[in-house]
């Protein structure tokens, strides 16, 4: 049976309560009659022969590109860059798709006698990955072959000796990227395209860039005008990256892009209830839900986090495309839309969504309040094409405990951002002008980023900017079940029950509002007409 497309449910009296993620737990909320619930399409059928398809893609590239084997030669400098652990979410079951692709690239390189090969994790300003994380992404065979020779590296955006300035775009944007990658005879970039934002020119222009380069698109003005940053043709973030990417190509950097798409088979069988529509839950799903929610509710947050972060997703490959960046990306976007796009008619007064325990920036770590903000107002709010799901001046209700918890190893600058910056203002523009530079150039944060496993000092600012478009668009944000003090610091309101939240929302949108619930997991993108 072919997978069912996305679906919009009109809630009636016999509709069972809807599932909401609530951080490390879940909520079941009875939504008012007349509400809409947007359900994602079912997981697409995977490729029958993933390894064969990868080999085929490398040998039959799209766009203006020769087969990979013909681009390889004995004395060349080959750099293979790959996405870091922020993709996919949760981390996928072994073997990771990056391992499967890179092993084949290395086989081809070995056959051609290419000796000078370096692997670079495209971190941008993300934290350095640990050995076990790298082993999970690349597999033991690659890790052991390259790490001890110093040929497995993680991009350092603060290492001037390994950065090269390639010029300015016609809009005056600095293009400064990883020197090894830029000066190689061939740069192969291996992507995991979980959402439509990923990949394209953004891979190299962001993943291998320096702060000097990133600040041109990771800023409030660009983000407010990216409507949305999941829709490339209406995203200034992507326009900037595309300008930079074209300049990189003009500067002579030869890129062979590999993009991979996954289906939305996100959780293993024991969490099957997360992937199903509530009225289709069978006894096993209901038992699984009761067991999981009771167990997670009774364990302390650190333990439930540990349990949940140990989940490995059974994602399956739905597409592999290789070749010239733009031609590859066009096909990738089509594949992603095929899996995630749901057509929705009209906007809503109130948009509700549950936020999970994991986002791109807290893999194996804590979802701190700033990341809650970013996941809700940055990522989930922007999962649209056309226009936002919620109308201008509408209300967003997020469900998350939003505790004042931080990981000092991974997110040191976030703590200061929360305590000092947000105590002063929550206005993105003011934050950017008053505080960004000090955090971005702070030597201690730079030291932690370069030598430890810390996100760059400027990273919490970027998180705040990710939500700038939503902040500009929304009338109010309510966090259901959120810690009141913490939520207040974010500039939002907290409500302990859904009916309280709806009552509060009515003071912004008027009586008898329309309500839409974005049901996840798995991920979906609304095509709002």
């Amino acid at each position: 049976m072919s997978p069912r497309p996305g679906f919009i449910l009109d809630v009636d009296k016999s509709t069972p309560p809807s599932l909401f993620w609530h951080g490390e737990g879940f909520r079941l909320e009875k939504l008012p009659v007349g509400s809409r619930v947007i359900y994602p399409p079912e997981a697409l059928d995977p490729l029958k022969d993933p390894l064969g398809t990868i080999a085929q893609a490398l040998e039959h590239p799209v766009g203006d590109s020769s087969p990979l084997s013909s681009l390889l030669f004995a004395d060349m400098r080959l750099t293979i860059a790959f996405d870091d652990l922020s993709l996919p979410l949760p981390s996928m079951q072994s073997p990771d798709i990056r391992q499967m692709v890179i092993e084949q690239i290395l086989d081809l390189a070995a056959a051609k006698g290419v000796d000078d090969v370096v692997l670079v994790a495209a971190l941008a300003l993300h934290r350095r990955m640990t050995e076990s994380e790298l082993r999970h992404i690349l597999g033991d065979r690659i890790f052991d072959s390259f790490n001890k020779m110093g040929r497995l590296t993680q991009h350092d955006a603060e290492d001037p000796s390994n950065l090269i300035h390639l010029g300015l775009t016609d809009k005056g944007e600095d293009v400064e990227i990883n020197k090894r990658a830029a000066t190689s005879d061939l740069l192969v970039y291996v992507n995991v395209n979980l959402v439509s934002m990923d990949g394209g020119h953004k891979s190299v222009a962001t993943g291998l860039a320096s702060y000097k380069s990133l600040r041109h698109h990771h800023n409030v003005k660009t983000m407010v005008h990216s409507k949305s940053f999941m829709d490339r043709h209406n995203s200034q973030l992507h326009s900037s990256n595309w300008r930079m990417g074209r300049l990189i190509k003009e500067a002579g950097v030869k890129i062979f892009q590999v993009e991979t798409t996954l289906n939305t088979n996100t959780f293993p069988d024991s969490f099957s209830f997360l992937q199903k529509r509530e009225w289709e839950w069978n006894l096993k799903d209901r038992t699984g839900f009761i067991a999981a929610s009771t167990a997670l509710g009774k364990t302390p947050p650190w333990l439930s986090r540990k349990i949940l972060h140990s989940i490995r997703s059974p994602y399956q490959l739905t597409g592999v495309t290789a070749g010239e960046v733009e031609a590859v990306h066009d096909i990738t976007i089509e594949n992603i839309y095929k899996q995630q796009l749901v057509e929705v008619r009209g906007q809503t007064d109130i948009l509700t969504m549950g936020l999970p325990y994991i986002g791109p920036y807290n893999v194996n770590s804590i979802m701190n309040p700033i990341l809650v903000y970013c996941l809700g107002l940055g990522y989930f709010f922007n999962m649209y094409k056309g226009m936002p799901l919620v109308r201008k001046g509408g209300v967003l209700i997020l469900s998350h405990p939003t505790r004042r918890e931080f990981d000092p190893t991974f997110h040191p600058s976030y703590i200061d951002f929360f305590d000092n910056v947000l105590a002063d203002t929550t206005d993105p523009l003011e934050i950017e002008s008053k505080y960004e530079s000090a955090f971005a150039t702070d030597p201690w944060y730079i030291h932690l980023y370069k030598t430890g496993h810390a996100y760059h000092g400027v990273h919490p600012f970027y998180m705040w900017y990710w939500g700038a478009h939503a902040l500009d668009h929304l009338g109010a944000v309510i966090i259901l079940g959120g810690d009141p003090k913490t939520v207040h610091r974010l500039g939002f309101m907290s409500a302990s029950t859904m009916s309280d939240a709806l009552e509060m929302a009515q003071s912004f949108v008027g009586p008898d509002p329309s309500l839409t619930h974005l049901h996840s997991p798995p991920l979906l993108m609304a095509d709002v007409k």
Binding site: L9, W279, I290
Partner: protein, 309 residues
């Protein structure tokens, strides 16, 4: 007036949490794909006719059910001599007043039929849950009979079993009497007898309505009677509706025989004056009023303590 059982049911349902502890309700806005059911008339009862299951059932029927029936609703069996030379297999067609009819008849039909007999049971009532279907097919060798609509599957199953040598107990009224009076027999039984080419043995059961009628609130132990009639064969060229009527008339006669005596019943039958089990024809509310007089509301029974009389 709210009965105690209703109050208990209400209390239980209010204390049981809803979804996800209960199965979810289906939104009316979502069309439901008809699910391939393995229950009702589609339930596969073949396992219940395997030898090990038959052996266990025989032990249960003779070792548990029969003694229990004898102790609680002791039956007097009449007309067993009429079945001495009756062919095997056959269809036993009886009036239906109570759930007790099934174990009573199944445990008291002649021995040469008893352990190779299936019982036609309402698919919608006895086979609507997996546990019920397994219980009834295992314990009573029940097979599902569709009562509410025509279903070829259930009639084909019954026919094939009859052809394989299994006898069948069936209640052609299609359900228990709600008021003690009999109901018209459905013609399906005659059709089945014709197709399988087996005789129909009419049976009249008395006393089970008083013990546990359809609307009884409590079980009242008491004596019962079973009266077996002569096997009926379908005449060549006989219409199935006429044969069905003949079966019903035979059961009426067996009933009248127990009310009076064999000779009186035979005389009445000869002149077509056997009273029908279905009772007098209802022409107006007054007839129904009189007919149901025995069910008139009685005053509340007041327990007194200490007893004064």
């Amino acid at each position: 007036m709210e009965y105690k059982t209703d109050r208990i049911k209400k209390a239980l349902s209010s204390s049981v949490p809803g979804f996800p502890f209960k199965a979810p309700t289906w939104p009316t806005t979502v069309s439901r794909k008809p699910k391939h059911s393995r229950l009702g008339a589609d339930y596969d009862t073949e396992w219940s006719r395997k030898y090990p299951v038959r052996m266990v059932r025989a032990l249960f029927l003779d070792g548990v059910a029969r003694p229990l029936i004898k102790a609680l609703i002791p039956p007097t069996v009449f007309g067993e001599d009429r079945l001495k030379d009756a062919p095997v297999p056959a269809i036993f067609a009886a009036n239906h007043s109570s759930h007790l009819d099934t174990p009573l008849l199944a445990s008291h039909i002649p021995l040469r039929y008893r352990h190779k007999t299936v019982i036609g049971a309402g698919a919608d009532y006895f086979f609507d849950r997996t546990w019920k279907a397994a219980l009834w097919s295992g314990l009573a060798a029940a097979i599902p009979i569709e009562r509410t609509r025509v279903n070829r599957k259930s009639s084909e199953l019954a026919e094939s079993l009859l052809k394989e040598g299994w006898s069948l107990i069936i209640f052609p009224e299609g359900g228990r009497t709600p008021d003690g009076f009999g109901q018209s027999f459905k013609a399906g039984i005659a059709q089945l007898a014709k197709k399988a080419d087996v005789p129909v043995i009419p049976v009249y059961i008395k006393g089970t309505y008083d013990a546990l009628g359809k609307n009884s609130r409590a079980f009242k132990p008491g004596p019962t009677s079973i009266n077996f009639g002569l096997p009926l064969f379908m005449d060549a060229g006989e219409d199935v509706r006429i044969f069905a009527h003949r079966i019903q008339q035979s059961v009426d006669q067996l009933s009248y025989e127990l009310e009076t005596d064999w000779w009186t019943a035979r005389k009445a039958a000869a002149v077509g004056m056997t009273p029908e089990l279905t009772g007098p024809e209802i022409k107006g509310w007054m007839d129904e009023w009189r007919r149901t007089k025995s069910k008139a509301t009685k005053g509340p029974s007041i327990s007194r303590w200490p007893k004064t009389d």
